[in-house]
């Protein structure tokens, strides 16, 4: 009787078989389908629309040293001077990278648990409790030195996320409740608890704006240092996310704990037989995963949002996008960086602020992004489909060659 290979086992199959090719094919396929959707529904050529979205990401800024970016983007009538175009691209790129920061961390939260064979759908809830912890620390302790205040707030955000995910990890380890169910429940508990905390008359609601369900602003000493740009420019959180990628890699590949987590992920029975504590691995994997998502919440709040309200809770979905990031990134550090950049660029490029409404209605584009996300997750999950398509492509030329030989 064939036993079902674990999820991670099948993902490692991907790596051997596909490497970079499968994610790239997946993404390409998703964009092609999205292009067809645009063509069928609006009758517009999708290529200029994708180019318009790309222009909005600010990624062209990276080549502004070499060429006049108005030439590539075709925006000579939009910007009088090259300097104007570069300045706008710089702001757009800052936004893309700020979102990349968040998505790297929420992607890590999903990926770390994945490597232990756990599916952490709770990134959103862990992110929210991280935000809440950062609000509590960030709006108090005015006058504390920044070098103490910022690390304290970020540490509390990470710990809050770890505790929230730890509940699911603990329940999985002790009574065996499935982490998918518990993390979904924890997401919604965080959602409503957060809505309560920021509601009018709620414990964390603003002292100054009594009629708005929103928190106070964080104090100056708790705001993250801005690396590039103005008030909501690229903050130091970007470096923290990069560091988190390294930490993620190091824990998994260079520590005994990480070895145990990977072993449990590949085969819990074998790991147990080898003397690795499966329950401990489950709990710690979830807690560490949660700390990444909690940190994402802290970095977002202290880096550019500075206050949080009911509307922000309802509009936030970075925890869910993190699932797509981790899946497309194959749960590897480098892959997560690249897929976080892709999704951040896509989301920034289709935002109402960055997408030229003449090119495409941003509201439609925002939903198109959701469709692309959905397709990518769908295709990534279908190893058989993508792999067989890839094999079929490689198999095709062979009969031709044989026929030529004959």
């Amino acid at each position: 009787m064939a036993t079902r290979p674990s999820l991670t086992a099948r993902l490692s199959l991907h790596q051997r078989a596909g490497g970079l090719v499968v994610p790239l094919l997946t993404t390409l396929l998703a964009f092609v389908v999205a292009g067809i959707v645009v063509l069928v529904t609006t009758g517009k050529n999708p290529l200029p629309i994708f180019r318009g979205i790309f222009d909005g990401t600010g990624l062209l800024w990276l080549v502004h040293w070499a060429v006049d970016i108005r030439t590539i983007a075709g925006t000579h009538d939009l910007y009088a001077t090259e300097a104007d175009a570069v300045a706008v691209a710089a702001i757009n790129l800052q936004q893309t990278l700020i979102l990349t920061t968040t998505l790297i961390l929420t992607g890590l939260a999903v990926a770390f648990a994945f490597r232990c064979g756990l599916f952490n759908i709770g990134g959103q809830g862990q992110y929210l409790v991280g935000v809440i912890a950062a609000v509590v620390i960030g709006t108090n302790f005015a006058g504390m030195p920044r070098l103490v205040h910022v690390p304290l707030a970020l540490a509390c955000a990470g710990l809050a996320g770890a505790a929230w995910a730890g509940i699911a990890g603990f329940m999985r380890a002790t009574v065996g409740s499935h982490e998918v169910i518990t993390t979904i429940m924890l997401n919604w508990i965080a959602f409503w608890a957060g809505s309560y905390l920021f509601s009018i008359g709620g414990p964390l609601q603003s002292e100054t704006q009594k009629s708005v369900p929103i928190s106070d602003d964080v104090v100056e000493s708790a705001k993250l240092h801005v690396l590039w740009g103005g008030v909501q420019g690229l903050h130091v959180g970007f470096l923290i996310a990069i560091a988190a990628l390294v930490v993620f890699w190091a824990i998994l590949n260079r520590t005994t704990l990480g070895f145990g987590i990977r072993a449990v992920g590949l085969n819990p029975e074998a790991a147990r037989y080898a003397g690795i504590s499966v329950t401990r691995s489950y709990f710690l994997a979830m807690a560490i995963a949660g700390s990444f998502a909690g940190l994402a919440g802290g970095v977002d709040l202290l880096g550019w949002q500075f206050r949080f309200g009911q509307i922000d809770i309802q509009g936030s979905d970075v925890g869910f996008v993190g699932i797509a990031v981790a899946l497309l990134g194959r749960n590897r550090a480098l892959g997560i960086f690249l897929s976080a950049l892709l999704f951040a660029a896509l989301l920034t490029g289709t935002s109402a602020r960055n997408l030229d409404a003449e090119v495409f209605d941003p509201e439609l584009a925002g939903n198109l992004t959701l469709i692309i996300q959905g397709l990518i997750v769908l295709f990534v999950g279908a190893d058989l489909l993508i792999l067989s398509a890839w094999r079929a492509r490689r198999r095709l030329p062979r009969p031709w060659r044989r026929r030529e030989a004959a």
């Binding site: 999820l7 099948r10 759908i121 009574v175 409740s177 409503w192 769908l378 999950g381 190893d383």
Partner: protein, 410 residues
């Protein structure tokens, strides 16, 4: 049903089992402990709910000790909650309680909020009992909500709108089925993708079709007016019935019918036996000639159609319009109801009613100024209860054995 009870039934006698009776009495005492402190009775002494609650807990524990493990525990917990609720309510101001609790209105609202949950959780029941996890219920509901509006608008008929909505949910479920059964994707991953897709597809088509104008005039699913209920004696009861269930939407009644049908199909027909066997032990089912793939395909597709009905009710039956992401997590509460109800039709119904009650009370709490913030917190209750349920405090929820595992035919 236990062997003993079946013998009793066969003999045409009803045997008296103290443990079971004690369990039922315990639940009744727990409910009573809460009820006495609420309108119209509003007993102001905390002593009454405490005494009733303690008696209830004692009865529950007695039932537990005498062998009714699950019933006893559940009853004792209900009695404890009833006692706590009663004590809290006894301390609250009477006029505030009267604002929040108008029983006929609360019952009507509970039924309205429970209906979409009932449809979706019965949908989830079919999928999960066949061994396919369905966290895409939310997306399937959303499809139903939008396409019912689109279909109803274009055809100017609520019946066709309802059918088109169901078909759209079934179509999305078919995608889930294809990926998770045929391609053996991870079912959670596929379900996540389904939710993203539904959000994108409905949002895109909504903006593309209706733009900023909104959906305008739509055909509505009619209400069922039962005015004769008010003539039922005694007078208080008649008007209570008429106010609470006299003017409900047709789909509310349809939801209850669905539960009964689901129970009959699942536990009294061969089809149901096949679905369950495929979900518990697909290899064994395959060996006796049941097609695992066909059964799972059918179950998942049906699940999408039923979940979509929940969405149809939201858009055509309840708010009479569509807004982006209008299901707002109801698919996940339905999933919670299914788990809380232990993957059983009437269990899911009970859970959906309980969660519907929480949703019905929450906005009413906001009518009292000093309680307004708690209304929001109250919405977390269904999820918290489910979390406790899966932890195994109140009788463990055990999923179908083969759930989440793709089947590879040999």
């Amino acid at each position: 049903m236990s062997a003993q009870a079946e013998v009793a039934l066969a003999n045409g006698r009803i045997t008296f089992r103290p443990a079971r009776v004690a369990g039922v009495v315990s639940i009744a005492l727990g409910v009573l402990a809460f009820w006495v402190a609420l309108p119209p009775r509003t007993t102001r002494s905390e002593l009454v709910p405490v005494v009733l609650g303690l008696l209830g807990i004692a009865a529950g524990l007695f039932s537990w000790r005498k062998g009714e493990t699950r019933l006893g525990w559940t009853a004792a917990m209900i009695a404890l909650l009833g006692m706590l609720g009663g004590v809290l309510a006894a301390q609250a101001a009477v006029e505030n309680l009267k604002v929040v609790i108008t029983w006929s209105a609360v019952l009507a609202a509970t039924l309205r909020f429970a209906t979409p949950l009932i449809f979706a959780s019965i949908g989830g029941l079919f999928s999960e009992r066949s061994g396919v996890v369905n966290i895409g219920l939310e997306g399937m509901m959303l499809m139903g909500a939008f396409f019912a509006v689109l279909g109803g608008d274009k055809t100017d008929s609520w019946v066709l709108g309802l059918l088109i909505g169901m078909a759209s949910g079934a179509a999305l479920a078919l995608v889930h089925a294809f990926f998770s059964i045929q391609l053996r994707s991870d079912q959670i991953v596929s379900g996540t993708a389904i939710n993203f897709l539904a959000l994108g597809i409905t949002g895109y088509l909504y903006i593309d079709t209706y733009g900023q104008e909104g959906t305008g005039d739509l055909p509505e699913v009619p209400n069922v007016n039962l005015d004769w209920l008010s003539r039922i004696p005694p007078e208080g009861l008649g008007s209570f019935l008429e106010k609470s269930i006299g003017h409900l939407n047709l789909m509310v009644w349809l939801a209850f019918l669905t539960v009964v049908l689901a129970w009959v199909v699942m536990f009294r027909t061969t089809i149901g036996l096949r679905i369950r066997s495929v979900g518990e032990h697909p290899r064994a089912a395959d060996t006796v000639g049941i097609s695992v793939y066909a059964t799972r395909y059918a179950a998942v597709t049906l699940s999408g159609a039923l979940a979509a009905l929940g969405g149809v009710y939201l858009s055509l039956g309840f708010v009479h319009s569509f807004t982006e992401n209008m299901t707002a997590g109801r698919g996940f509460i339905a999933l919670a109801a299914l788990i809380f109800g232990k993957w059983r039709p009437f269990g899911a119904l009970g859970a959906a009613m309980l969660f519907g009650f929480a949703s019905a009370i929450a906005p009413r709490l906001q009518n009292v100024e000093s309680w307004a913030t708690y209304g929001t917190l109250f919405q977390a209750l269904p999820y918290l209860l489910t979390l406790i349920a899966v932890a195994g405090v109140i009788g463990r929820s055990i999923p179908p054995a083969a759930i989440g595992r793709p089947y590879i035919k040999q």
